[in-house]
């Protein structure tokens, strides 16, 4: 059976955005992204305009998946924290609630220690939000997918998408 579909409502998004905007400030970060493990971008905050966030999401998910495979090879469940050091910018990547990836981009205005500290707090807050989302998704699923916009679409709607 497939995993529960991820459905994010406006109020969930606002909570997530609030947490990561605060994380940008508290950690003196350039930008913060939340990505799901399948490579879908969930939210972003900070100086992220020049960054191709769709590619970033897909590559982070790929990288997390690959390192998680490596972890299992040596008998670890996962490597939940990753740090990539660059010349100017660095990436701090953590797994949150087993399903989400929290990515922080920072430069020498911040430090690894500060980012780690703030990510711990922000990550815990995000985990709580994602647990709520998960519970809602399970309830929706038990109710027969009432939360899905697909409940109301017709075959014609789908056909129209492909009529050139």
């Amino acid at each position: 059976m497939m995993d529960t579909q991820l459905v994010m409502y406006e109020e969930d998004y606002k909570k997530i955005l609030g947490i990561i905007q605060r994380l940008v400030r508290d950690a003196n970060a350039k930008g913060v992204f939340v990505v799901d493990k399948n490579g879908q971008l969930v939210a972003e905050a900070g100086e992220v305009r020049g960054i191709d966030s769709t590619s970033l999401a897909s590559l982070c998910a790929g990288s997390i998946a690959a390192t998680s495979g490596l972890a299992k090879l040596i008998g670890e469940e996962d490597f939940p924290v990753h740090f990539h050091q660059g010349v100017k910018d660095n990436l701090h990547v953590t797994l949150v609630a087993r399903r989400m990836i929290l990515v922080v981009i920072f430069d020498d205005r911040s430090s690894l220690g500060l980012v780690r500290l703030r990510v711990k707090k922000g990550g815990a807050e995000l985990a709580r939000v994602f647990e709520e989302i998960q519970k809602k998704a399970e309830a929706d699923s038990a109710a027969g997918g009432a939360g899905s916009p697909f409940a109301e679409i017709t075959d014609d709607d789908i056909d129209n998408l492909f009529s050139d």
Binding site: M8, G39, G62, G69, P149, L161
Partner: protein
């Protein structure tokens, strides 16, 4: 596994192109990339070796239009076809919403096609999916080559489930968009079915 975002009013789905080494999975994505309006596509990423064999995956984000006010976005991935990259293939199948099997029509690649199809079935099962239940289409690629096996034979061997199938020549683009449309349509129909 699709992601429905009410905030940005978007639906995101993941489609994986599977098949034996050198069957034309990356070529399919390259053709789609080259022929798609720049407003509708993102950057194509290829994690490949120096000899341009896929090492981990290719990735192409694509927007298909709106359904009931929701933008539909498809993330297209390929897997590395070479046998020894099996660990990577498993990772890429995680969270998949639809699968395209690209078969190499050349008669001498029949065994490689069958092996890859078996591998797909096994790897999907490891992720908790059954091939029979996943939106799935088959593409017989390289139909232009003189050593291509007869279509009936390919169908008999590779499409016993009688899912939608297409003849293609990915280098010229024949059959490429037909395949994509069929799998995307199947994915959306499946989401509709699951939400009932």
């Amino acid at each position: 596994m699709s992601f429905i975002n009410y905030s940005s009013r978007e639906i995101n789905c993941k489609i994986v192109y599977y098949g034996p080494g050198l069957c034309g999975k990356t070529t399919n994505l390259q053709f789609i990339y080259n022929k798609t309006n720049p407003d509708l596509k993102g950057k194509m990423i290829s994690l490949a070796t120096e000899t341009e064999r896929t090492l981990f995956f290719d990735f192409l984000p694509l927007a298909l239009g709106q359904i009931r006010g929701f933008k539909t976005r498809f993330h297209l991935y390929t897997v590395p076809g070479q046998v020894f990259y099996d660990a990577s293939r498993k990772l890429i199948l995680k969270g998949v919403d639809g699968v395209v099997f690209v078969a190499d029509s050349q008669i001498e690649r029949m065994e490689a096609n069958l092996e890859s199809m078996d591998n797909l079935r096994i790897n999907l099962r490891e992720q908790g999916y059954e091939l029979e239940k996943v939106p799935f289409v088959v593409q017989y690629n390289k139909r232009d080559l003189p050593n291509a096996a007869p279509l009936d034979e390919l169908r008999r061997q590779l499409n016993p489930l009688a899912v939608p199938d297409f003849e293609a020549c990915a280098t010229t683009g024949k059959g490429v968009f037909e395949t994509l449309k069929a799998v995307a349509k199947n994915v959306l129909s499946d989401l509709k079915r699951l939400s009932r």
